[in-house]
């Protein structure tokens, strides 16, 4: 019971309370870049979920079985980026094969997951928080889920705003950022919900 509730807390915390995009402000680049259309946003969500979950587990393994035993912690960043880059290349090829249209839609943002601070952030935070293998996988998945949630919601809002007569001065990124800010304020309501 307590193990499961712990797991649930980790997920809830990563998805809502400490949402990567809206409270940690990580991964803003794809958040603004691919939220123009819901379909692309959903595709991106799955790509990020895949990369984040695997990256957090793989980085945990590397940390525990290579970096710590060999005392190579100074190579942490380069190792993690290597992992993430490999995963991103892999998913890029996969998406190109499975859904060429999605591939076109994601455009430059797909390879850019490599340098996405959210992914690297998850790997590093995992290590900092001394998570176990399972919790680090959960944490990575939860963070990705949170990213996916706000990305999809935000894309819905943006699609709705597409037809709106936004004043000239606020067109484009301005109103998008204001909306993101409002969402972020709303997500503050979750603060304190889970004490992790």
């Amino acid at each position: 019971m307590s193990v499961f509730s712990d797991f649930a807390m980790i997920l809830l915390s990563a998805v809502l309370v400490n949402n990567y995009v809206l409270t940690k402000f990580l991964g803003i680049c794809p958040f603004l870049g691919v939220s123009g259309k819901t379909e692309t946003a959903i595709g991106m969500s799955f790509a990020v979920m895949f990369v984040m979950t695997l990256a957090s587990t793989a980085s945990w393994l590397v940390q525990q079985y290579i970096l710590i035993p060999l005392d190579l912690l100074y190579l942490q960043t380069i190792f993690f980026i290597l992992i993430i880059a490999t995963l991103v290349q892999f998913i890029e090829m996969m998406i190109h094969k499975v859904s060429p249209v999605l591939y076109q839609g994601l455009g430059i943002y797909l390879p850019l997951i490599t340098t996405n601070c959210a992914v690297l952030g998850v790997a590093l935070l995992n290590v900092q928080q001394d998570n176990t293998f399972i919790t680090s996988a959960l944490y990575g998945f939860g963070a990705a889920l949170g990213f996916a949630l706000v990305l999809v919601l935000f894309s819905g809002l943006r699609e709705r705003m597409e037809g709106a007569p936004v004043p000239d001065a606020f067109k484009g990124s301005a109103v998008t950022l204001i909306t993101a800010g409002m969402m972020s304020l709303a997500f503050l309501g979750f603060s304190g919900l889970v004490k992790v």
Binding site: I66, L75, M93, M94, H96, P100, V101, G107, E162, K171
Partner: protein, 194 residues
């Protein structure tokens, strides 16, 4: 100290090699035949084969756009809608058209002037002109794409482009006259998305 360095080089190198191997294998698995994006674009083009885009037909232009060798805005007969559809497929910003969209036209042969040389028949990319040598030629209006490729070869200039007759069945409601609808239309046409 040296030992440490060796560990570092070996582990990083080994790991990188492993990653490279995985990618090499997966690139074999996910190898793609052909270009599905080009097919998609070809399906959007009006197939007039007019060559106004600077390519010798619709398929070549589709290939060029898919490989990002050409812009999305070169299809003149396709007009605004085709350009937007292609931009959508390619995931790029829409661009304004090269030329103003013209009203749909069809070729018409002034039969009393036609000398029956068959040059226009050979030029027509969609076999829309019928006629035998030394006979009057006629344009099948329903098949004509209005590509004007037949005008040039005609030695006696007996081919005119006439506006396609508007049919009652093809009439459709225009956008409402309300300000809200019209401002939306203007915004769409100025391509200030986002």
């Amino acid at each position: 100290m040296l030992e440490q360095l060796m560990y570092a080089i070996a582990s990083l190198g080994g790991f990188a090699l492993l990653a490279g191997l995985i990618l090499a294998v997966s690139s074999k698995i996910f190898h793609i035949e052909g270009d599905p994006v080009s097919d998609k674009i070809d399906a959007l083009l009006p197939q007039t084969q007019c060559g106004q885009c600077g390519f010798p037909g619709c398929r070549p232009y589709a290939n060029a756009v898919a490989s990002q060798a050409a812009d999305v805005n070169h299809c003149v007969p396709g007009g605004e809608r085709t350009m937007l559809a292609i931009a959508d497929v390619m995931g790029v910003e829409p661009k304004s058209l090269d030329q103003e969209e013209a009203i749909p036209m069809v070729a018409f042969v002034r039969e009393d002037e036609c000398i029956g040389c068959t040059l226009c028949i050979k030029a027509c990319p969609v076999d829309a002109i019928v006629g035998a040598p030394k006979q009057y030629h006629t344009v099948i209006a329903d098949h004509c794409t209005g590509c004007v490729l037949c005008l040039e070869p005609c030695p006696v200039d007996c081919i005119d482009m006439i506006a396609k007759p508007e049919l009652l069945e093809h009439w459709s409601w225009p956008l409402p006259d309300t300000t809200r609808a019209q401002t939306g239309l203007e915004r769409r046409e100025s391509h200030q998305h986002d």
